[in-house]
Symmetry: C2
Subunit: 130 residues, 2 copies
């Protein structure tokens, strides 16, 4: 059930409505201008509500500042079949100002004040339904 498999694996991993976390992980992410921003590193899940909290975008040193992780609200990701990846509705410049964390940092997952800043930045409704 890896992300890049053959036809049979694709079917196991995804239908029109449902996709596996392992298939989301590793998928490329593009800006509205078509810039390759990076790829999905992991998916964060809210235990109690059963909601998808974030897809974590990793910048693989594209900006020359070491790898940074951007928590993206799930609703920001639109799959683009032509690009073969997700497109987020913001420019590279806008993403550079978004909340991030580094490899050694501990994001306050589940802290509503921290998470509200993320959702505010991307102008999406909080996953916890506030």
């Amino acid at each position: 059930m890896s992300a890049q498999g053959g036809h049979a694996v694709e079917k196991l991993d995804e239908t029109a409505n449902v996709i596996s976390a392992s298939k989301v992980t590793g998928t490329s992410v593009y800006s509205t201008d078509g810039d390759l921003l990076g790829e999905i590193n992991d998916v964060m899940l809210d235990k109690r509500s059963g909601k998808i909290a974030y897809a974590v975008l990793s910048f693989g040193g594209l900006l020359g500042i070491g790898e940074r992780y951007h928590p993206l609200p799930w609703a920001t990701l639109k799959y683009d079949t032509r690009q073969g990846g997700y497109v987020v509705g913001l420019t590279l410049e806008r993403l550079q100002g978004a909340p991030t964390f580094g490899a050694g940092e501990h994001p306050a997952w589940g802290d509503r004040a921290y998470e509200a800043r993320i959702h505010d930045y991307y102008k999406t409704a909080p996953y916890w339904g506030a």
Copy 2:
């Protein structure tokens, strides 16, 4: 951000409310009687609603019938710190009669009739809120 990391990685991967899909994957699953059933192979996500659809339990040939996959409604998984894994509220015998698919099969993810049978079996409310 792998599942089995040190302390710092643990913190990045999980808080009281939020956990990464990569950390869920590979976690052991036990029956109510303490039998080791297998481990979580992947997590299925509902694209539109942003809900976690299933955690897929793989039976690693424990029953001697080749690897089988059990889609478990997210709500069935309770983490048990003593066992160091998830406990599902059913016995090994009960799990043997649950809906499964094999490595070459294509489960009808997103097909409500197929999925309703899964939720009925585990007596959990459907993730899509029906």
